[in-house]
Symmetry: C2
Subunit: 505 residues, 2 copies
């Protein structure tokens, strides 16, 4: 097995167990690990470290690409093995510990973590743990299903542990494009001018001197759990398809649209399915994650090329991908996340960015991260990188949720701002689509309430806006009432006035 997975001879005596590798970490060390939306994560060393922390009082600062798979983050969190965690997570167990105040979480724009490390605005990395398909004859590594921050971790860490995952076929070599920017002041343009531009190598450079252990695993990535489009997500998708068709009619877009970035989840899937049915062709993607819907669009002949930082798909799609890998190999690229999410490249290519909001307000400010302004959900991820720099920045949400539509996702004021009104062009709920381009705040408010709010909340939102407007201001608000929907929900479990009465009858 090691013969085709370790082509660099002097590494062969570095094979150790995951437990041995995990024993290298000392308390308060800083570890950078591969892993982006559950793809290409450490499946041996980090879980072994979580196990070690069951019996030992030890913690690390863990920096990843994005979220990890398995139960790794939960296990680390519950065993108090995390001192600090960044730049993203999507794990219920870790989330609870963050929100209880037990773990410090730093929520970062995904494009920025590598830069912060390079600039020494974050602490020096003691270890990098990187999943690899195999090690080439020069000691460099071929990544697996994600790139994330791995190239930067390998460059900067004092020591490196490689996790060779034998479940990933050797033919994965070639889908990666690894580029590391020069340091200041010698930085040059990132020379990507289309989704399929290649500017780097297909391996991550490794200094053999730093490699202290090689661990073998054979575990697959944690697969994405797909939910089928429902009435709401289908309606959202239809509003978007109608919008795109009108933009084509108005000659602002062609049937190829612009390179797409689509966030993760149910709505994203529905939107992509909508595109598969519409009159579009030669679509491309410049995004963070390749999902099932990406491969469906490629299969349907509507998408020519897709660039991202990871492949996160369902079990069925993964099997299909491996069985037909040669058909896809020339149509996908995985890049470091500071390149997939690069402000420079996103502005140059002109991305249509579609991301999910937890809530948005009548002026178009978006909350992507905090429940009731306090509790972290997952993190801002790449939504800020794309929303700020996109050709069109679109946010989607259901208008209301829970029984009796107890929660309105359209609010007088968001309880936390991740994306200000400056960075939001289009808002969509199942109710409709608000095209905010060229509108001032007071115009935005009327349109958002009209097009996006749930009917149960339109009257109160309008009343808030009207009364606030009496007091003037560029962005009329009544600060005493701005969070009244949120506080009412806290007190009555519903954002509705007279909710108790309504829910009884």
């Amino acid at each position: 097995m090691t013969d085709d997975r370790i082509l660099y001879q002097s590494y062969k005596d570095k094979i150790i167990s995951a437990q041995q590798a995990a024993s290298f970490f000392e308390d308060k060390m800083v570890v950078g690990s591969s892993g982006f939306t559950k793809a290409g994560d450490s499946k041996a060393v980090l879980p072994a470290f979580a196990k070690r922390a069951e019996k030992e009082s030890i913690g690390i600062t863990l920096i990843t690409g994005a979220s990890l798979g398995l139960t790794t983050d939960t296990d680390l969190a519950q065993n108090n093995a995390l001192y600090k965690r960044m730049p993203f997570q999507a794990d219920a167990g870790l989330r609870n510990k963050i929100n209880e105040g037990d773990i410090y979480f730093i929520d970062q724009h995904l494009s920025e973590t590598a830069e912060l490390l390079e600039n020494k605005h974050l602490p020096q990395l003691d270890f990098a743990v990187i999943e690899a398909t195999y090690i080439d004859e020069n000691g460099n590594i071929i990544p697996t299903t994600s790139v994330g921050n791995s190239a930067t971790f390998a460059k900067l860490a004092n020591k490196i542990i490689i996790e060779i995952n034998t479940s990933i076929p050797l033919k994965f070599k070639g889908i990666h494009d690894i580029f590391i920017q020069e340091n200041y002041p010698n930085r040059k343009p990132i020379n990507i001018t289309a989704s399929d531009t290649r500017i780097g190598e297909n391996f991550i450079i490794i200094d053999p001197e730093k490699v202290v252990g090689i661990v073998f695993t054979e575990l697959s990535d944690s697969f994405a759990q797909l939910s089928q489009p429902d009435a709401k997500t289908t309606a959202i998708a239809q509003h978007l398809v109608d919008f795109f068709e009108n933009e084509i009619k108005e000659k602002r877009l062609t049937t190829s649209l612009m390179p797409l970035q689509v966030g993760i989840g149910k709505v994203a899937n529905a939107v992509m399915s909508g595109l598969a049915k519409g009159n579009f062709k030669n679509l491309t993607m410049y995004s963070e994650v390749l999902q099932d819907s990406t491969f469906e669009l490629i299969d349907s002949g509507k998408m020519d090329f897709a660039s991202a930082s990871s492949i996160t798909v369902s079990e069925g799609c993964y099997k299909h991908l491996l069985d037909h890998f040669d058909d896809y190999k020339d149509k996908i690229i995985l890049r470091p996340q500071n390149i997939s999410n690069s402000a420079e490249v996103i502005r140059r290519l002109g991305i249509i960015a579609i991301n999910t909001a937890i809530e948005f307000d009548i002026y178009g400010n978006v909350n992507s991260t905090h429940i009731s302004g306090t509790k972290m959900m997952n993190g801002i991820g790449g939504s800020g990188d794309f929303a700020r720099n996109a050709y069109l920045s679109i946010f989607v949400s259901q208008s209301a949720s829970k029984e009796f539509n107890a929660i309105s996702h359209v609010l007088p004021m968001v309880s936390h701002v991740d994306h200000s009104e400056h960075d939001v062009d289009i808002l969509v709920t199942e109710q409709g689509l608000a095209d905010l381009r060229g509108l001032a705040p007071r115009e935005r408010a009327k349109l958002i309430i009209e097009k996006c709010a749930h009917p149960d909340y339109k009257e109160e939102l309008t009343d808030y806006f009207n009364r606030a407007s009496l007091h003037g201001g560029h962005t009329p608000h009544l600060l005493e009432e701005a969070f009244s929907f949120h506080t009412r929900f806290k007190n009555t479990s519903s954002m509705k006035q007279n909710a108790l009465v309504k829910s009884v009858y």
Copy 2:
């Protein structure tokens, strides 16, 4: 006079009066005008249009680079000659009309207006009005003290009016670098790799067919009113100089720092004066505006080069600049504002961005625009372009202001978010400097209160944070109390508890 100002023969019969030019505008037309921080603005045609609107019911959508000089915006606003205004203003008369709800204002990232016009996400421009030093032999124009959005306005507008300003010496030719990006999908990198990189022409391309009038003026720009550093701004500057010196000691910076962007005003001036006194050399600037302090730093031999989109200086500095123009000519460049504020270039160069906050909160979110969450001050300007993409994003403010320190600028929650905590590395008040790099929200809160808050407010801010923390959350807040400082100020004219008592004794 026209012989050396109009070198393109067929333009000579297009000379008209400002009144004639202003008569071309029709109701609801969209006009793009030169002008950036009071520099290079229309000094004849827009004022004449304001005059026309005194007697006539007519309004336009006015798009500029940034703020205008003279009383132009006030006059236009008071005569109801503005239907919509973007992307920035800094005019008391206009501000009042915006906040009364009489004029729609669109507050934009200054890098984005040109793009929105190119993408047709804003309406078609009927007219461009552009101040010029002179018209060259091909009919193209040499700009004056700013570039702003003029090149894009000239490219996209149906018709063009040129204002030749004879107070600007002919030798201004050469300080501009005019570059217009290719359209999608053929965009290429913006090839700037240092403040002094030239990538364009030193004139704005004009299609002679579109020129409908040439107007002569001789009015100077409205000069900057400088206020001298006081105890607070000097303290802020000293904290920053100390910080930079420590970064040099820690080898994260050299004595040349990184290219500087500095916002406008009193604090900026104080900071730049601080740099002039410190142990720095070979400084450069990649900013929006060249101010008095820029030329002082050049004079002192500490600054090698400065790039921006306008020159906005005091009367004395302007006279000095003209008298010694040949000494400065090779040390400054004026660029279009989508290049001076380009996300791509700012990230590549690694800018130290220093901007002013109206208020910030204990988690590091910054409000740059809205008084009490509702009333527009000036606009976000370029602060978002720089803060998001900077190597270091620094915001400065006084900790408290007004008699009895009735207003705290450090708050439980900002009443409006322009820059989220993700985009803020360093906060400085006269009390001290909070270095937020690598800190989670709860760590940030403690440090911001400790270092930046005014002593009169520390106890209450700490109490808020402690009580909010009891309820958990990644970013602890009590939504019922989040704006209590603001609402107390509204009710008692002070943010202090028991303010009435305190101010009586």
